[in-house]
Amino acid sequence: MSCCHNQAPVATIEGAVRIGLIGNPNAGKSTLFNALTGLNAKVGNYPGVTVARYVGTAKVDGREVVIEDLPGTYSLDPISPDEQVVAETLDLDSGERPDGVVVVLDATSLQRSLGLLSHALQLGLPTYAVLTFADELARRQGSIDPAALSEALGIPVLMVTAGHGAQVMDLKRELLDPASWSRPVVTPPITPSAINGWIASVLEAAKHKPAVVDDRTRRIDAVLLHPVLGFIIFLVAMFLFFQTIFTVAAPIQDLIGDGFGALGELVSEHVGIDWLAGLLAGGIIGGVGGVLEFIPQIALLFLLLGLFESTGYMARVAYLMDRLMGKAGLEGRAFIAMLSSLACAVPGIMATRTLPSARDRLATMMTAPLMTCSARLPVYTLLVAMLIPSESRIWIFGTQGVVMFAMYLLGAVGAMAAAWVFKFLLRGKGPALPFYMEMPSYRLPSWREVGRSVWDACWIFLRRVGGIILALSIALWILLSLPVASEDRMTAAGVDIDDEVAVAQYQLDNSIAAGVGKAIQPVFEPLGFDWRITVGLVAAMGAREVFVATMAQVTAAEDEEDPQAELTEMTWLSGPHEGELLFTPGVIAGLLLYFAFALQCTSTVAALKRESGSWKWPAIAFVYMTAMAWIAAFIGKLVVGALVG
């Protein structure tokens, strides 16, 4: 939703109180923002900058308060575009100056947070301090007296813990009247040493006991954060994980596949109307069932990500990667965005908001889709199973698992390399910004949290299947089944109308989908893709998993008995390669590489447009990634073809 010039028509209500929310990144500011505004937030862009703007309304006592979640900053002395935005919005001359400012302070790092507060108080606006992570502070044997802190600061202070609705309600009421908030009698000093003195004095008066790093965390971190050992441990963990996916998920996957196969047969037998049976068995069950098989993989992937997050290991990984990312010109925080992209590039792109530098943000956004997202997983699983027999082993490890791991590694390396190139191309002013992050203590995973994220992921996957994948499957089925070939036409073409397989193949080869596929085919022919694969690729632009659905439909259309085996034996239907095996190892390798690099997801394109503020960047992403995919597939096909055949 944007008008011309890509300026966000951000929600403002005449006469409503306007509050600005500022705080360090990761201080829990956005969580608070969500708690205050519920789902009433609109996303836009600040004019001229690639910084997303979040404005929402909080409803309290029948009135509305407009709250703006300003980008996380460490100080109001801007050194990056985001901090610039905050400084400008809060500036005296800004027409957008809020009526009051809420400063979110992380109670476990008050020494640092109060620095930002001291800057904020210079603005002369009514200021309210909210202390977050109170529970974390208590858990780490720290403490603070909020009432005493309020006295010392001269402004109101509220301590909150995430998830406590009553506190948020209290805060909301306070927001109605910023003019009534107490103000400090003298603004804090401005020189660094004086500010530090002020902070120390205030914290002493507030009886502050800083949080301690708990011992267990420290000891574990001595190993897991070790620059070499820690990194190796991470790689080993990821490797073992992919092994598990194939050993544990595969049998479940087969069960589901068999189940759908049986269901499809049942439908074909019992549904009298031919075309309906075809639609149900082929279009819906065949297409959608083919994708649903991969729920075990999805569930396992999110289980892993959830465990990382819940135990606190995720932050360590980001820290370890920081050094590596540094070589690509990025920082550890970019890694979090990239790691999120393993689930789906859309939240990964949105996670780039945490990057202080707009250049970093853009470079990360444009390359995060190269990370192996969960939608690629079904495609990879299918192709790898076709390429490598399940019994194959490298030493004690299943080769299939090894190849999967390699594909994920390829995605990661590709993303970093591309990011490096982007940073180089986008080079401009600005020093390297410091990166530091809070490491939460290690804790046992919250099974509720992890279970929740696995459930959410599966649910989102199911929704995708029930939504866009189902729609595309039906559309494809229609396009593959029309026009219905008449018997005369077939006889004239030399097809034996009693041979069901031949009839089905002719039908397929002359359908609308075939027409479209064959028109585009020349582009992909050097890669060894025929029109069916081409149609699959085009359909996959809506959702990558649809490729699997397409292949399932195409093979079911030809021979409904055993679609799985059909795939490996598919041959070219017409043209110069007629009769040759379609899925040669070279072609499969090429397909794998194509999927690794191509941008095939309308949701990602939409997210890129939203976060970057224009169509220019998603267009560039589409072009460069498709080109990369084509070239990689070509090389892959050549090399593997030469090696194996």
């Binding site: 009432a147 005493a148 006295e151 010392a152 600061l153 001269g154 400090p184 009698v185 003298v186 603004t187 804090p188 000093p189 401005i190 040493s193 004086a194 530090n196 003195g197 002020w198 120390a200 004095s201 205030v202 002493e204 008066a205």
Partner: protein
């Protein structure tokens, strides 16, 4: 950091600010001091400077704290380097003022949350007498509040020689047994 470990606080008077953390090396009214602070004091721009052990009350004549706060901050930091040159006289009203501050800011919420209503009856040198009213009147822990909290807070701010006592009529049985013939060591 040294003398910069300070922060300002409002008092009941808009012209007076208490600077917590300032240590001038003495207690009472400041009669003379070196540097810019001394100049302001002498010229009357600052009407009074009264020191506790770890904070100082500064009253302006007519300037706005919002405007000169930063300057006063710097002057206070500076003067702490020259504590030997500061002259003091005893301030008879200081004890009352500090007790008032303790009762109405630091301990106010504690007292109120227990339903207490404590007021100053009178002060005499180092002694202050309180009227423990409200719920405090019949509370067995009144002495504890008085000595444990109020007295210790006053002593930390003005020195160990401060004594807090309550009106005798309000002594409970426990207090009578404790006070007879024995020094309370709370």
């Amino acid at each position: 950091m040294g003398g910069e470990r300070i922060h300002p606080r409002r008092t009941g008077d808009p012209l007076t600010v208490r600077w917590v953390g300032v240590e001038l090396g003495g207690v009472g009214t400041v009669t003379s001091c070196p540097g810019a602070l001394g100049e302001w004091l002498a010229s009357g721009r600052i009407t009074a400077i009264t020191a506790e052990l770890h904070s100082v009350w500064v009253s302006l004549a007519c300037d706005e704290w919002a405007e000169v706060g930063g300057q006063v901050h710097e002057m206070l930091v500076e003067v702490q380097h020259h504590v030997g040159e500061i002259g003091f006289t005893a301030d008879a009203h200081l004890l009352e003022r500090v007790t008032d501050d303790v009762l109405n800011s630091s301990l106010a919420s504690y007292i109120a949350s227990h339903g207490g209503d404590i007021r100053i009856l009178d002060t005499d040198g180092d002694h202050v007498r309180l009227d423990m009213g409200g719920a405090c009147k019949h509370c067995a822990a009144a002495t504890l509040t008085m000595h444990g909290r109020i007295q210790s807070e006053l002593r930390s701010r003005l020195g160990e020689h401060i004594h807090v006592a309550s009106d005798e009529e309000h002594e409970s049985i426990w207090n009578r047994f404790r006070l007879r013939g024995r020094a309370t060591t709370v």
